[in-house]
Symmetry: C2
């Protein structure tokens, strides 16, 4: 059983090939669709009373428990952005926190037995508050962003001493550590507490740093990236979804296999707007891609 | 038997951690040391009478035939550059062509039977002149750079119709094709003639585009990059050296295996200044890294 605490959102996404399009999104939604490929998922989040009930039903249809999404009077969190031609860079046009501004995350008491927890990007204070509401998790992984690294450094340092793993992108981990090399930056962060550091490099794949060394895996090559929104959260969902269903967690091979699933899920995420591709993805399609990815990486 | 036509140089290299250092370099030298891991190599190049005879002896000691290096009166080609903190970007401080300015490449007649040919970065007119002097090669691969894409486009287009493969970095292939996606850019170039396109992404690995699809492989993770000079040429040397010794060439698996060897050789190249690490590299050290790399990519 995997739990994610993060945002549910209504995103307005503009790409070089398309007019602005409104999508159900948010870190918790992308994560949950990805992790649901491996087993049941629980969402802790907040949405406004404008959040479409149908969106909740579609999540439930994939085995995602939405009982932890509090529906508050007001508007759902909204993000609006525009991707540049290379699809690697984007411009945020607007961020309206709306009901998320006054959110204090509450894990339903019946969910305090969850074993695998993902603390999606958010204030480290909130992330620690979620963690405190889960009794004895096997594994807790967090995300963060430049804003928290700059404004809540001490709280983030404290969080890092408590979690098992963290995901960051290259800019974030370089900012956090002051190291120009992502590999050395990840090794550096390991010494602060977590058992593993994942550096997300988008179209260039990811790094996994553990006490056993540094592993690099490429992204699954996607010729037509439609919309990268939520790719990092779906990556985290693939990673923790796989770990949630794995017999053991704390070994290099299992973590690497989880990273490979993460890369495959994320490659689907970018093929359509929002989480649309993940919503319709079948177990067969996913397994087929994992096999293709493994074949690509077979160089013996 | 593998032949490379390219530069021999005296490089002056400055890195964030070190004062300027003088190294024997040039595309042909880095390529040759890498390809020599797999079998004999022939160099077609030009050097000045200041080129240290000891540098030639050290090449010969690795099974590299230097009979095609013409020693001309005057100074050897010199390049001087400075790497920035991220080691991905560099500033060229000076380029002095010296004797290379009046070079007309000549393949020794006895070498016209060479089966595997690498046309290192240079004027596409010279690259075609070298090609014309090899009777019936099995495979010809070229490199190029932004300068030729901008100034000799027609000649480069003609070269592309004649070669079997080309290596480019991401900026170059995007400039050449006008495509923002490296994957689509590579697919696009395939339609101009070559059987395969390799996109070199430095620390992010490489892409291989063929009629059978696009494969991505990561770089072997190196925590302490000492000097990236010549990494791309050593990558090409590992790739073509492997193909020169392979029983068949024109299938996806062999090309991918060659790409994996290329990644491993390049990871050694960056561990010391110039080609120093490649000069001392043993077959055992290399095979050990290839096995480590294969294990890293095993995600079944």
């Amino acid at each position: 059983m995997v739990l994610v605490a993060g945002t549910t959102a209504i995103d307005t996404i503009q790409t070089p090939d398309s007019a602005p399009r409104e999508c159900i999104g948010g870190s918790a939604v992308h994560f949950a669709y990805a992790a649901a490929l491996f087993g049941p998922v629980r969402i802790v989040s907040i949405a406004g009373d404008d959040f479409p009930p149908d969106a909740l039903r579609r999540l439930e249809a994939r085995g995602i428990d939405t009982a932890g999404i509090r529906i508050a009077p007001g508007k759902t969190f909204r993000w609006s952005g525009k991707y540049l031609a290379d699809m690697d860079h984007r411009e945020t046009l607007a961020t309206d926190l709306n009901v998320a501004a006054s959110w204090e995350p509450e894990v339903p008491p019946a969910w305090s037995d969850t074993r695998v927890v993902f603390l999606a990007n958010g204030s480290p204070r909130f992330q620690r508050a979620v963690m405190a509401q889960v009794a004895a998790p096997d594994i807790v992984v967090c995300d963060t962003m430049d804003y928290w690294i700059e404004s809540e450094r001490a709280e983030l340092d404290a969080l890092l001493r408590e979690v098992d793993g963290i995901l960051m992108n290259e800019d974030e981990i370089r900012m956090y550590t002051g190291e120009a090399s992502s590999i050395r930056a990840a090794q550096n962060l390991l010494s602060l507490g977590p058992e593993f550091i994942i550096v997300k490099k988008g179209a260039h794949g990811a790094l996994l740093a553990t006490q056993w060394g540094v592993d690099a895996l490429p992204a699954y090559p996607v010729a037509r990236v439609c919309d990268p929104t939520g790719a990092g959260d779906s990556f985290a969902g693939g990673f923790l979804g796989y770990l949630g269903a794995a017999p053991s967690i704390r070994d290099r091979e299992t973590l690497k296999r989880a990273l490979a699933r993460a890369a495959c899920v994320a490659s689907f995420n970018v093929e359509d707007f929002g989480a649309a591709r993940l919503e319709s993805l079948t177990a067969e399609e996913f397994q087929h891609r994992v096999r293709e990815y493994a074949r690509m990486l077979s160089i013996g």
